[in-house]
């Protein structure tokens, strides 16, 4: 029964894909999440499903990580789908959109449940690639963003695939549980780093993120920033077990990259003018922190286990909050500064920064406890992240109050879905931590309030100061380069017309094109080469 439920979690969205072509199935994606949610809530930890005949042998497992992530992920997918289902203007009325929405959903569940590399990769690829059509929207800018996303995703998936082959060659097994025993070659590690680094938007690999978050439909961003992005972290946890040999020296590398991401995200986020963009850079900052913490775990394998556990909780919290935030932005875009929308977003911002009595405070506390040992640097990073996030959220809220949006909608049904998601996100992972009112927890709250006040003051003092902030960073430049390159790249016009001059008749050709020298020489070379190759050994 449990096994069936786990299978159903992945199979239901897949099998309901053909149904999208029948009209009036807007609730289909929401319903398809139910088995996953049930599996996450009802199935006990440790259940394994073996399908040795499938592909290279597929194994699913609800382990300690999945038991936390699956319900949260399913929950988010359910409410995002429900939120969009009743909204006329959103794209769930497009069968193709629903199709890829379901594919991405199924892939996401598979990533969480996979116990072997190939299954994980399948889920990862399905999720990543299905998101591409979900990002598409009318308009040049949206097309460009989607294409950049696709390019990064393809590179990432390829790197992951190559890394996987390397791991397989080293360990001889596809199961994650067998990976700890063998040393991982450096090149493989680098490939995995790139593969997952793109998903978690490490600095340098992050270009796709602000673009995509800026232009995509809000439901896509909600699932992309929440559950799908966490697959990167999950990948690291699965593929690079901290106890494996040869990973220790990579710890500092990851820490450094993570710290850079944190700084970059905060820095660039603060100068954005669009609420979505602020959230996008906040994601980069948060994933930077996660990366740094994971690097710390790799560096000291002995204390890795509690860090990893705390990271998973952290990820679970972040995926709930980020999705809810983006849905809230969607409400805000449609309704303007309605009082209840602003209140809800404010609550989410509070839990994001880890204000006391929120789920955010809980996970931060958990992280703080886990790295209490000799992770001096990490503690500093954690504090830095707290301050940075607080500032970003202040910027976010401030932008929301400043920007004028003309309300276009008055219906309330989709809002209900958001309002259900909201408290769950606010209270976070519901772990049996004791909610304590710590003085340290007050720090980000103070920064948040101070930031809001400071921004208002600065704006009053120098009007227009914040208007100079840019949207996006290196991407604008990249875009220019790409546009330029597109114009400059010639389409190769190598024609083999002359070969028929010799072979058929010159008259049948429309016009002389090129010469035969190329193909003729190639043919000759091929001929001589084959001959030489046959001669060589004798």
């Amino acid at each position: 029964m449990n096994e069936l439920l786990i299978l159903a979690a992945i199979a239901t969205p897949l099998l309901s894909m053909p149904l999208v072509f029948f009209a009036g199935r807007r609730w289909l994606p929401a319903i398809a999440t139910v088995p996953a949610l049930l599996a996450g809530l009802l199935v006990p930890e440790g259940v394994v499903v073996s399908l040795p005949w499938l592909l290279l042998g597929a194994y699913l497992q609800l382990d300690g990580i999945a038991v936390l992530l699956l319900p949260a992920t399913a929950f988010v997918w359910l409410f995002v789908a429900a939120w969009a289902a009743t909204r006329e203007a959103d794209r769930l009325d497009d069968p193709a959109f629903r199709l890829f929405f379901l594919a991405a959903m199924s892939g996401n569940f598979l990533v969480i449940l996979a116990a072997d590399m190939v299954s994980f990769y399948i889920g990862f690829a399905m999720m990543g690639l299905a998101a591409y059509p979900l990002l598409l929207r009318p308009g040049q800018q949206a097309r460009f963003s989607a294409r950049i996303y696709l390019a990064f995703t393809l590179v990432g998936e390829l790197a992951l695939f190559a890394g996987m082959v390397g791991l397989y060659a080293a360990s001889g097994s596809l199961l994650f549980s067998d990976l700890g025993a063998t040393p991982v070659p450096g090149i493989t590690l680098a490939l995995l780093l790139i593969g997952f680094g793109i998903k978690v938007a490490l600095p340098g690999l992050h270009f796709w993120l602000p673009l995509a978050y800026g232009t995509a439909p809000i439901i896509t961003v909600a699932v992309l920033s929440g559950p799908m992005m966490k697959a990167g972290l999950l990948g690291w946890l699965r593929f690079l077990p901290a106890e494996a040999d040869g990973l220790m020296e990579w710890g500092p590398v990851l820490m450094l990259l993570g710290a850079a991401g944190l700084v970059l995200g905060v820095w660039l986020g603060l100068v954005q003018r669009e609420p979505r963009a602020v959230l996008a850079y906040s994601s980069i900052a948060k994933m930077g922190l996660i990366t740094a913490l994971f690097g710390g775990a790799l560096k000291s394998p002995a204390e890795a286990a509690p860090v990893a556990a705390a990271l998973v909780l952290f990820a679970m919290h972040h995926l709930l909050v980020k999705s809810a935030l983006f849905l809230g932005v969607g409400e805000w875009e449609k309704r303007g500064r309605a009082r209840w929308v602003m209140a809800g977003l404010g609550l989410l911002a509070l839990t994001m920064i880890g204000a006391p009595l929120t789920g955010g405070a809980l996970v931060k506390q958990g992280l703080g406890t886990a790295i209490a040992g000799d992770f001096g640097v990490l503690s500093a990073l954690l504090t830095l992240s707290a301050i940075g996030t607080a500032l970003l959220m202040a910027r976010f809220m401030w932008l929301l109050t400043r920007k004028v949006v003309r309300p276009t909608l008055t219906d309330s049904i989709p809002a209900a879905a958001w309002l259900v998601l909201l408290p769950v996100a606010f209270l976070g992972p519901f772990t049996p931590f004791v909610i304590t009112l710590e003085v340290a927890g007050m720090l980000p709250l103070g920064v948040f309030l101070l930031g809001l006040a400071g921004m208002s003051w600065l704006n009053a003092r120098w009007p227009g100061l914040w208007a100079r902030g840019r949207s996006g960073d290196a991407l604008t430049a990249l875009n220019r380069v790409l546009q330029h390159a597109r114009r400059r790249l010639p389409t190769p016009q190598i024609q083999y017309g002359r070969l028929q001059v010799a072979l058929i008749r010159p008259e049948t050709l429309p016009a002389p094109q090129g010469t035969l020298a190329g193909p003729g020489l190639l043919w000759l070379a091929l001929f001589l080469g084959l001959l030489a190759a046959t001669l060589l050994p004798h």
Binding site: R498, L499, V501, A502, R505, P506, E507, P512, T515, L516, A517, G520, L521, W523, L524, F527, L528, L531
Partner: protein, 329 residues
């Protein structure tokens, strides 16, 4: 002495063949090339005769030089405004192709030389001679073509069939020539019966002497070519329905004979020894008719008038004009 003379003759023959082939390819005027090609076919027929392969000599003369030449000349007639002027870069590319050809030739010679050094001389021929008695015919070539390796021949008939299907699908037939002069029509009237008789003779004699379906078919096709030149538009072909039947007759009879022996618990095409000769003759007659029809249609250069009148349901008839001009979906 006479041995030496023959060697000399062979050398001259070989040199002439290579030279003629070279010139035929190298000439820049297509008409010249075609005429030289016909000459080359005749030369090849002589070579086959010298190699004591009269069957091949006959086939080469009839098909390689005769029908193929007629086809090429007919194709040439359709090409209006063919430019014979060499284009820039043509020489360079030609030289490269020449080089490639020479390279291939050298490699081939090397391989063949080594093959002859290696070979112990045991070939298919010994096996054929041994089992000839069981084949139902006396001519070893016919035995190989219609019995030992009959399957190859079946597929070769299919190749001819494919070629004619291709011809039929590309476009309508060339317009017929106007009626020829008195001398020409007189000659045609005089030659046609003789050629038909010769074709029948070649077919019949195939069982024990050089000859057979391909040669006879080519001879019948020559009748069609002559008729067409003499101004007979349908070139002696019957109505379209009958022509369709004639086209498929060869392969059809072949396959049906091959399959019907399987009811007697034999392999495909395993003729019972006592009636093998009769079966082979039946197949050869059918094949001759099909080959002749196919070659005649190829000479017409496309679909004869009214070919597709019975293809479609009435509502599509209107489109046929467009389809005949080669346009379709």
């Amino acid at each position: 002495m006479s041995e030496l003379l023959w060697v000399l003759f062979d050398l001259v023959l070989a040199g002439l063949t290579v030279g003629l082939a070279w010139v035929a390819v190298a000439t820049r005027e297509l008409r010249r090339g075609v005429l030289l090609f016909v000459g080359l076919g005749l030369l090849l027929a002589v070579i086959w005769a010298r190699l004591r392969a009269p069957d091949l000599a006959l086939a080469e003369a009839a098909i390689g030089a005769g029908i193929a030449g007629a086809l090429l000349i007919a194709a040439l007639r359709d090409e209006i405004g063919v430019s014979a002027e060499p284009e820039d870069g043509y020489t360079a590319s030609r030289r490269l192709v020449d080089l490639g050809a020479i390279g291939l030739l050298l490699a081939l010679s090397w391989g063949l030389l080594d093959a002859f050094l290696l070979s112990d001389g045991v070939r298919l021929a010994e096996g054929v001679a041994e089992r000839l008695g069981e084949s139902g015919v006396i001519n070893p070539v016919t035995a190989v073509l219609l019995n030992f390796r009959a399957y190859d021949t079946l597929l070769e008939l299919a190749v001819v069939f494919a070629a004619v299907l291709g011809v039929l699908s590309v476009g309508p037939a060339r317009p017929a020539l106007e009626a020829g002069s008195l001398v020409l029509t007189g000659l045609v009237r005089w030659l046609v019966p003789i050629l038909v008789v010769v074709a029948g003779y070649l077919l019949w004699v195939g069982a024990h002497a050089p000859g057979g379906a391909f040669q006879a078919g080519a001879m019948l096709a020559a009748v069609a070519v002559l008729l067409r030149l003499g101004g007979v538009a349908h070139a002696g072909l019957p109505g379209t329905a009958a022509t369709r039947w004639l086209l498929v007759l060869g392969i059809g009879v072949f396959v049906i004979v091959g399959l019907s022996v399987m009811f007697a618990d034999r392999a495909f095409l395993q003729y019972p020894g006592d009636i093998a000769g009769v079966l082979i003759l039946v197949i050869e007659i059918a094949a001759t008719l099909s080959i002749a029809t196919a070659l005649a249609l190829a000479y017409l250069g496309g679909r004869p008038v009214g070919w597709e009148a019975d293809c479609d349901s009435p509502q599509h008839r209107v489109n046929r004009g467009a389809a005949d001009r080669g346009g379709d979906a």
